[in-house]
Symmetry: C2
Subunit: 416 residues, 2 copies
């Protein structure tokens, strides 16, 4: 092991020998191949060879993560740490992904592999990280303390720009701090970004003039073409906007890197597509590893679902994700604002608060939970603020609802 | 269903009702959310709603693809085609990925989901596609017919530029048509791309002057930063190079799109990282769907493993991949040159030829199979050419080896 290395932790599963598999991965991902080579000298190996530095055995399993026709269980499991010399990888994220992750997923003789974590040496602090993060999000929204209350345009697709602007006016009047395009809305023919910016920003500005409050609006600027994405970015900036929704997997590392260098917008990351990398517990990648890469690239706000989300993700996974994005990689400033979302209506506020270290550094995003409130959107927002007040004051929602009719109505509609 | 749509085929698995799951996906991925909304009018739905157009039921399974704590099998399976209106998606690949794929992986109530195929309407022919493809690869290498014989620098990591140049001289002398950097080699401190270009291109040019043959050399120019990648691209172009290895997943759609617009290099795609999307048969994505996106983005040459590859991939999967990259999306010109690789030494030539429709439009890449040949690299190349001659002439390798000592030596070393 060289003095400076990138250490990657893999959860491996195999009917063979864990130690042999770990050694094979370290070799394949650095200097070796399927047959011995005259040029693989001791000197070459010293320069670039990856080494297995730790093996923590875990209970074996009967059912392999990937179906195994040979059926030779039980399948041994272990968390294996492999150190890759910085000399061989450098600081480029493409090199990191190809050397330490890409090829590992292709190795034969395993029935499961999951990247659990990546530990970076100080040299990796060269990456830009978030431009705004938690402090910048608070500064731009003017929300000095407590959760930033957010909403999203619904229906998610299909509204014409003027129809969307009307919804946004309603949400501004309802008192939200932040509004976003649905992640599925970028620049379709029926609602081109330019037309949307043109009618939405006046609503935001008009509200600011009347109330002194500038609602942060995140426009869907994602494009697989970085040139198009930058034109989208510029449209928003020129109109006085300050945020954008970025579908990180759909633009890729290259798109994100390109944007971050040139961006003056607060970047709100939606991780759609991530699920397939993490949904099977024996395969893919933990959010802990995944989110580090995207934070290094510059994500300011990270959507991480929430308690009782409408998607598959279990609550425990959300709680871990919250801790992950709030844990510094190199400094406090590289943390991303956790965006708690999906099926949220306030009913999850107390549990969210209690299970995430009583943190109020978060964005709490209600879509249907605001639009669908029986007394209207303003009451939806009020109910959510009441729920968070209850959380902070260690009061139960039922107690709080006694003299807060908006929260009472939300509980009546959505509490299971 | 609108007249123009993007049709995506998913293999779904659920302990619930397939039809209900399909309908939920179509709704979630277009106009719906978890609660009814006042704005989801008939007009909005007509504009953007995705629709289930076909359900083909498959045999149920007892073991769920994703472990299911509730254990309520059997798990029903079906191939479901959902049509997304072009109006809602447009032609941007980021929109495609987020709307039709990203969110689907997050849907609750399923124990398996795999994207099997994507059918594009003619409007998607707006994407650039390969700049060189099969015809351009032949033109640049001067290989008018038969397989393009290729090799790679070994050891894959750790050689200094001068050491690499010496290996390349040996491979040129051995008679290969194409050489590439290992995909794991981009621009590490011990072998910066600039230094490599500086010593390798003179070897390529010197060989061309002496023999009239310009070997195509693909440099590892990938970077997660498109600006860096373009500088790398320009270094290669300025030195007279004509090809590059691109780690497509490690740069992402944005990186690829940015590069393709500006590239004058033949782009050789390495798909490391893909495996985790496809290795579990009930999850992720078929190569058929995946490779279409990357071909639209501009891949010229596509690595697809080979018969008896050293990785996990079964031969049948390789054979399907070969057919996939050779099948036009919109025209013959959008096909990518199949790059048959991984553990190849010639012994797989006959079976490859017979199982891929007797095609000689391919690159056949030997790494260890050339460097590790007992009589040296030139004999490794000769053995591979002899094996392909045998394939084309319907002669067995054993027969061919009788009067071809290089092939005989390869068979003696590697035939199992």
């Amino acid at each position: 092991m060289t003095s400076t290395s990138i250490n990657v932790t893999y959860r491996l599963e195999t009917s063979g020998d864990i130690q042999a598999l770990a050694a094979k991965i370290a070799s394949d991902q650095s200097t070796g191949t399927f047959t011995e080579l005259p040029g693989e000298t001791a000197e070459v190996q010293a320069r670039c060879a990856a080494t297995v530095v730790q093996i923590t055995h875990l209970p074996a399993t009967i059912t392999p993560s990937i179906p195994d026709a040979t059926g030779h269980g039980p399948y041994k499991r272990a968390d294996v740490v492999i150190a890759y010399p910085l000399e061989a990888v450098g600081t480029d994220i493409a090199a990191l992904m190809t050397i330490t992750i890409g090829g590992v997923f292709a190795v034969s003789g395993l029935s499961g592999v999951r990247v659990m974590d990546i530990d970076f040496p100080p040299e990796w602090a060269c990456h830009p990280g978030p431009q705004f993060g938690i402090a910048g999000s608070r500064r731009l929204t003017g929300v000095i303390e407590g959760p930033i209350i957010a909403s999203i345009i619904k229906p998610s697709l299909g509204l014409l720009p003027d129809e969307a602007a009307a919804v946004i006016k309603q949400l501004c009047d309802a008192g939200v701090d932040f509004i976003k395009d649905d992640e599925k809305l970028m620049s379709p023919a029926y609602s081109p970004l330019e037309a949307r910016v043109k009618v939405i920003m006046p609503v935001i500005k008009d509200h600011e003039q009347k109330t002194g409050k500038k609602v942060m609006y995140a426009f869907g600027i994602s494009s697989a073409d970085p040139d198009v994405m930058m034109r989208n970015h510029d449209l928003v900036v020129q109109a006085g906007g300050n945020a954008a929704v970025i579908n990180i997997n759909s633009i890729g590392y290259g798109g994100m890197s390109f944007l971050r260098k040139r961006s003056s917008l607060c970047l709100h990351a939606h991780r759609n597509g991530w699920d397939i990398l993490t949904r099977h517990p024996g395969l893919g990648m933990e959010f802990r590893a995944y989110q580090k890469i995207w934070r290094l690239l510059g994500v300011d706000q990270f959507q991480i679902n929430g308690i009782r989300a409408k998607y598959w993700e279990p609550d425990d996974s959300f709680v871990r994700s919250f801790g992950d994005v709030m844990t510094p990689i190199f400094s406090e400033n590289d943390r991303a604002l956790p965006v708690v979302c999906s099926g949220q209506w306030g009913g999850q506020a107390v549990e969210t608060y209690q299970r995430t270290g009583r943190s109020l550094d978060l964005m709490y995003l209600g879509g249907g939970g605001i639009h669908g409130h029986p007394m209207g959107a303003a009451s939806g927002v009020a109910a959510i603020r009441q729920a968070w007040d209850a959380a902070r004051d260690d009061v139960s929602l039922a107690q709080k609802a006694k003299d807060h009719p908006e929260l009472a109505a939300a509980l009546a509609k959505w509490q299971e």
